[in-house]
């Protein structure tokens, strides 16, 4: 039942797709159906958010795209560049928690994906330092994770995801545990990175405001089993900056996305 293809580019119509899910479902061993059937197409270079209530399977969808979890049925296609890199390097993953190794330095943490791919030490160190510089942490390469604040740890995690120069960046509620000011700053930094690097980003969140601020497309999911409730394109003047947060268009989009999300919560008790 499960079809999984990795190809240089999944051509569909005129635009190349980075990720395509068709009829993907996930049923856990205990019989709980967590996801789907889900159909999702993400174009190359697109920034989309998966928005939905807790437990709607959006993280599961992300794990399936990353091949950390196998779908119970359906077809998953992920376009990757076929370079000298090891498999898996077309994808960078940022978890909910920073997920850093506490026993080693920030540089070693960022270097890990390259080390696992047997990239020579000098080259991997240089690339790790460059990735750290891109998230504004060039001075903290020698520090240990526990010496950093929550926001800085998340930046390290982002640098580690970027160090392999992946085509696709998967982010699983990465800023959920941060305070609002730090979160806003990281939102802006992420947008700046996306504009300069032009990666495909799939961003899972349960914040309406975050999803509208960041993405070109907000995909609203239903409660479990997660399916697509609405697919809303956010069109505004690029590049976005803080002004967008306070604009009328922004609040208008937030209202529309909230309205689309409301049915997903209707069956649940008050949260």
């Amino acid at each position: 039942m499960v079809e999984r293809k990795t190809s240089p580019g999944v051509e569909s119509g005129l635009t190349a797709l980075a990720v395509s899910l068709r009829g993907v479902t996930k049923t856990y061993d205990n019989g709980v159906m967590a996801l789907g059937p889900l159909d999702l197409a993400v174009r190359k270079g697109e920034f989309i958010s998966l928005l939905g209530p807790s437990g709607c399977g959006k993280s599961t969808a992300l794990r399936i795209i990353a091949e950390l979890s196998a779908p119970s049925s359906g077809a998953v296609r992920v376009a990757r560049h076929q370079g000298p890199e090891q498999p898996g390097h077309g994808i960078g993953f940022v978890f909910q928690e920073p997920t850093l190794m506490p026993w080693t330095s920030v540089r070693e943490n960022v270097r890990l994906p390259l080390k696992l791919a047997h990239v020579p030490k000098a080259e991997s160190r240089a690339r790790a330092d460059a990735a750290l510089a891109s998230v504004g942490l060039a001075d903290f390469a020698e520090a240990f994770p526990r010496e950093l604040s929550g926001g800085m740890k998340m930046r390290v995690s982002l640098a580690r995801a970027l160090v392999t120069d992946p085509d696709i960046l998967l982010m699983d509620e990465p800023f959920a545990a941060l305070d609002e000011i730090t979160r806003f700053r990281l939102n802006n930094d992420l947008l700046a990175l996306w504009r300069s690097l032009r990666k495909t980003v799939i961003f899972v969140t349960h914040s309406v405001f975050e999803s509208v601020y960041l993405s070109q497309r907000v995909v609203v999911m239903t409660a479990r089993p997660g399916r697509i409730q609405a697919d809303i394109r956010i069109e505004t003047v690029e590049p976005r900056a803080e002004e967008f947060r306070t604009s009328a268009a922004y609040s208008d989009y937030c209202r529309r996305v909230s309205a689309a999300l409301a049915p997903s919560y209707s069956g649940q008790s008050t949260l």
Partner: protein
């Protein structure tokens, strides 16, 4: 460390000095009282020797005692190394295969719960004495290493495992860069317990062997001095055993602290 430390968030220098000085004062007072009681009541040394006599015996018999100390320490070290290597290796094997774990773990428990003092005489029948003594130290000490290492290897962060999987890490890479470092605090905890236990194992086996008469360790010296009613020497040997135990614990605690001080909660100060 104690109730006082928990209450005062940041002990001042004077308080810290007191915490060190107070036990020393208690120790000195105890020794003084002991010495006085023995002198005033005129208790003969073969009933209860005064601390001064024990100390003099320690110096006078140093040639014999130091040799015994070296013998016991060597046995302890051999048992400790065997227990560390064996415990960690077995835990790694368990981690690779659940079937191996299911087959062997019950026997590890049996070995642990059977009192070593009861096994020692049997081992002494079948094995050369020195080998038997080392094996006793090993039997007593290896279980905490095994169980702690197993616990550590199973405590790896789930997301970090996912990360290694995502980047296509080989089993060897996962073991070397993820599982072993993650298990390190647990392994070191196990080693700290094993250090003291291997000394106990060595002493127990020496006492069991002592009746056979061929031993030379400190415990053998204690048993032998007991038969000869040389009580001051018994105390002197006991003092050395105690000191050896304290030093072993201190060294292992220090190693653990030095290895973990940059990252693990257990080695960090309270205000970090």
């Amino acid at each position: 460390m104690n109730a006082q430390a928990a209450v005062s968030a940041k002990p001042s220098g004077a308080q810290r000095a007191l915490r060190f000085v107070l036990p020393v004062i208690v120790f000195a007072a105890g020794l003084l009282a002991w010495e006085l009681v023995v002198r005033i009541k005129d208790i003969p040394p073969y009933v209860l020797p005064a601390p001064s006599i024990i100390f003099l015996t320690l110096i006078k018999d140093w040639a014999v005692l130091s040799q015994s100390l070296a013998a016991t320490l060597l046995t302890t070290l051999e048992g400790f190394v065997a227990a560390s290597v064996g415990g960690i290796a077995l835990a790694l094997l368990f981690n690779q295969s659940r079937w191996v774990e299911a087959s062997l773990f019950p026997y590890a428990v049996v070995l642990q719960v059977t009192p070593v003092i009861a096994i020692a005489p049997l081992l002494l029948i079948y094995l050369e004495q020195q080998t038997a003594v080392v094996i006793c130290a090993f039997i007593v000490a290896f279980f905490p290493v095994l169980s702690n290492t197993t616990l550590g290897l199973n405590s790896v962060d789930r997301n970090l495992s996912g990360l290694f999987q995502l980047y296509g890490a080989s089993p060897q890479q996962t073991l070397r860069f993820l599982k072993l470092p993650a298990a390190l605090p647990y392994i070191l905890g196990g080693l700290r317990i094993a250090g003291g236990l291997s000394l106990i194992g060595a002493v127990v086996a020496e006492i069991a062997a002592g009746t056979a008469g061929a031993g030379s360790g400190l415990a053998y010296r204690i048993a032998e001095s007991g038969y000869r009613l040389n009580i001051p020497r018994m105390f002197a040997a006991l003092l050395l055993l105690s000191l050896a135990g304290i030093v072993i614990y201190g060294v292992l605690a220090l190693v653990s602290h030095l290895v973990l001080r940059r990252w693990h909660e257990s080695a960090l100060g309270k205000d970090n």
